[in-house]
């Protein structure tokens, strides 16, 4: 049975993500499968980095109703051509594994971060919306 938290608790859990992202967060997109963790620590990036997009400071306003809605993520040109496989939110651009706060799947028409097409080097990459919804709402 899932736990059932009141929304203020759900919001607090989400806002901890915003705090962890700190002031200079980046969303970086890679090819391949998410590297995941070993013994609770994120593994190093794998594959090819397709894009590196600056996030706002703070990355998001306080959560509401158990939903964290990220503020504007700046559009940048793709670093490489390829098919997105996973994305990471980090506390720094090109940050090492220790800077990873959130890891998610990515894809074309699929994944937690869903793109409309593959990325092409030099083509603009924009994030039209990004949220995290906390479960445990009963």
């Amino acid at each position: 049975m899932a736990l059932n938290y009141k929304d203020s608790v759900r919001n607090s859990r989400l806002d901890a993500v915003t705090s962890a992202l700190s002031t200079t967060a980046y969303l970086e997109v890679f090819t391949g499968t998410p590297p995941g963790k070993t013994s609770g620590t994120f593994n190093a990036d794998t594959g090819t980095k397709l894009a590196s997009l600056p996030m706002s400071n703070p990355a998001a306003p306080p959560s509401s109703g158990g939903v964290l809605t990220f503020s504007t993520i700046t559009t940048e040109n793709a670093l490489a051509s390829g098919t997105p496989g996973y994305a990471r939110m980090k506390t720094a651009q090109n940050g090492a594994a220790a800077t990873v706060v959130v890891e998610m799947t990515a894809g074309v028409g699929s994944g937690d971060l869903s793109f409309n097409s593959t990325l092409t080097s030099g083509g603009a990459v924009s994030i039209t919306s990004a949220t995290i919804t906390e479960g445990n709402s009963g």
């Binding site: 997109v29 083509g123 990459v125 924009s126 994030i127």
Partner: protein, 87 residues
């Protein structure tokens, strides 16, 4: 926690479009020029000499002709069979 995010990627007509080749990349800043394996940046041209050594392409062309399908179909079938442990 469940993320939901959507992105748009604009096509750059001057760059390679690898839509049909999800395992490949063109990442000159990270790996250097040329089309490469996205996993580790090895140039796909490295495959050429290996293919020649083992006469792989000739065998796959022959298989495609025999089955009445395309080269790409044979590639897909091999990938499936390999993944299924059948070959």
């Amino acid at each position: 926690m469940q993320p939901h995010a959507y992105g748009n990627a604009a096509v750059n007509p001057d760059a390679p479009n690898l839509h049909d080749y999800p395992a490949l990349t063109h990442a000159p800043q990270q790996w250097g020029e040329g089309i490469r394996f996205a996993h580790n940046g090895r140039p796909v041209e490295d495959l050429s000499s290996m293919i020649d050594d083992y006469e792989v392409i000739g065998a796959m062309d022959a298989a495609a002709r025999h089955l009445g399908v395309s080269f790409g179909d044979v590639c897909d079938a091999l990938k499936y069979l390999r993944g299924a442990g059948a070959i």
